[in-house]
């Protein structure tokens, strides 16, 4: 029987693993909810919300979607969660809103206005690219 020498994990492998975990963490997309809304949101539930299938939260408040315009990262996140391009998403909601089956997502150019909207409306939900500096809203990373 031979003794296998203990081989330390190379430093570069540790560094690589750290970077990988960090990049995964950085790629998480923050979801903003009203502070009163403690509903656990996973990707499947979020998709139901963004496609208009789930129109009310568990507490009965109506879902109100807020979208940040001209932010490619937020757009990318919307694409990831809804499975639709930005134009398809808009088109999808125009079909819903103009047949009386839901409210058109609100569009915001300014993130502060978007955050204010989420704070004011108990059923509001928004996807942003960075929530580090945001206060007064629930943030869930997916």
């Amino acid at each position: 029987m031979t003794n296998t020498p203990h081989r330390p994990i190379p430093r570069f492998a540790l560094a690589l693993a750290f970077l990988l975990v960090a990049s995964l963490r950085l790629s998480a997309d923050p979801i903003l909810l009203n502070p009163e809304n403690n509903t656990p949101v996973n990707e499947e539930y979020l998709r139901s919300i963004l496609t208009g299938t789930e129109r009310f939260w568990e507490n009965g408040h109506e879902v109100l979607i807020a979208v940040l315009k001209n932010d490619p990262k937020a757009e990318q996140a919307l694409n990831r969660f809804s499975g639709m391009t930005a134009s398809k998403f808009k088109n999808h909601w125009q079909r819903i809103a103009f047949s009386g089956r839901g409210k058109m997502p609100k569009q915001f150019s300014d993130i502060e206005d978007l955050v204010e909207f989420v704070k004011r409306n108990p059923g509001a939900i928004a996807i942003v690219s960075d929530a580090k500096e945001l206060r007064g809203v629930n943030v869930a990373d997916l």
């Binding site: 009310f56 507490n59 009965g60 109506e62 639709m84 134009s87 103009f98 009386g100």
Partner: protein
């Protein structure tokens, strides 16, 4: 349209508009929107939808809608709508939908009032130009002249979505109610077209319907962007009575000046529609197959003497294939639509038995709220041409072209 019905409709439309504005201050969950859509149509031959042979701007739609959530899981939704499409619409505002909705859960909700009627991909959004690439929806499957009895109904619906294993989903919408048929609308136009090439002074004496029931199912098999649909809609107790008079210059002098009456009583229609839609990235594909059957008991008389009915129960079929791709603010779409030869030729006019349409559409979203479209149709056959106003007295040309342009502003 009868004056009191007209007056009532106008009153209802104004009341809804007032309600929509009055609710503006009630809640932050009130959402107000709308659109104004203006267009142009021109054709190389024939007058299709409007007086297109000379080019026309009688191609307008406008809507104002509001959705208000007065309580948890409860919404009140309404839309006032007006349109102009050649002889139809005449800019008279009316209630497109006005209903209260309670959504108990994702799986079960209920709507009551004037609700949108769902059949296939576009029936409930046929007026919403911005919801699609093309300007004109495939005729045979969707005909804008029939909107009076295809777009909405007064009744109730239940709806919901069930999750199935592996990200599959099943969505349903079951509805029933009463449908209003406009005596100056498309069904009247279709009816009078049949007699208008033989008689003059044609008019509808009665056009009425009783009930409409229907169901629409959508199945998503768990493949991103793909859904398959089946819808069925049945109309019962539709009564249509039309009158006409044989002209003095008719070849058979015995008929000259005699009145021709056609009565279709307690007619029922059944419509079936199969749909498939798939989107991936900037591509969008759709195809639909539509069939409808009618159970008609026809009583006809000339000068008060009954004549044997031809006893036909028409069976219509139509289908289309559509593909579109987005390039930034532009979208280009191709459609092939066909209503095959499934109807006995009227008055030996062979090309009136079918219609085939190759269509190219270009959409440009100039801003977030302004969309422009251009479209060209290369058409063979004359199946969808009406003649109730004498707009297409002779159907001698098989191939013809239709151009359309549209500008839509949303708010």
């Amino acid at each position: 349209m009868l004056p009191h019905i007209k007056e009532a409709k106008r009153g209802l439309a104004h009341a809804t508009l007032l309600c929509l504005f009055c609710t503006c201050g009630l809640s932050q969950t009130l959402s107000v929107g709308g659109f104004i859509s203006t267009g142009y149509l021109e054709s190389s031959h024939y007058n299709y939808l409007a007086n297109t042979e000379e080019g026309t701007t009688d191609f307008v739609e406008a809507a104002l809608n509001a959705s208000w959530t007065p309580a948890n899981r409860t919404t009140l939704n309404g839309q006032a709508f007006l349109f102009e499409l050649g002889p139809y619409g005449n800019y008279e505002p009316f209630i497109d939908y006005l209903f209260v909705e309670y959504s108990y859960s994702k799986e079960f909700g209920i709507r009551a009032g004037r609700i949108k009627r769902e059949l296939g991909l576009y029936t409930h959004i046929q007026d919403i130009d911005i919801s699609r690439t093309s300007i004109i929806l495939p005729h045979g499957v969707y005909d804008p002249r029939y909107r009076a009895f295809s777009a909405s109904l007064d009744g109730a619906a239940i709806y919901g979505t069930f999750g199935l294993p592996g990200r599959q989903r099943l969505t349903y919408n079951l509805y029933g109610g009463h449908v209003n048929i406009d005596p100056e609308g498309g069904l009247a136009g279709f009816t009078l077209t049949a007699t208008s090439r033989l008689t003059i002074d044609n008019h509808i004496e009665t056009i009425d319907s009783n009930t409409n029931f229907g169901a629409q199912f959508w199945y998503s098999p768990g493949i991103e962007g793909l859904r398959l649909g089946y819808g069925r809609s049945e109309y019962y107790d539709v009564d249509i009575v039309s009158h006409g008079t044989f002209p003095s210059n008719i070849p058979d002098p015995n008929l000259a000046g005699l009145e021709f009456i056609s009565k279709a009583i307690d007619t029922s229609f059944a419509l079936d529609q199969f749909s498939i839609e798939y989107y991936v990235g900037n591509w969008n594909f759709a195809a639909e197959y539509h069939s409808s059957t009618a159970d008609i008991t026809l009583e006809q008389s000339i000068g008060g003497i009954s004549i044997p009915s031809r006893g036909r129960n028409p069976d219509f079929r139509a289908w289309y294939l559509q593909g579109s791709r987005r390039f930034g603010p532009f979208e280009i779409g191709l459609t092939y639509a066909e209503e095959p030869n499934n109807w006995e030729p009227e008055f030996d006019t062979v090309n009136a038995s079918h219609q085939k349409d190759r269509q190219i559409s270009l959409r440009y979203d100039a801003t977030d709220n302004w969309t422009l479209k251009l479209e060209a149709h290369s058409i063979r056959g004359t199946r969808r041409l009406f003649n109730q106003h004498g707009q297409n007295p002779v159907l001698g040309q098989d191939s013809w072209t239709l151009w359309a342009a549209k500008s839509t502003i949303t708010f």
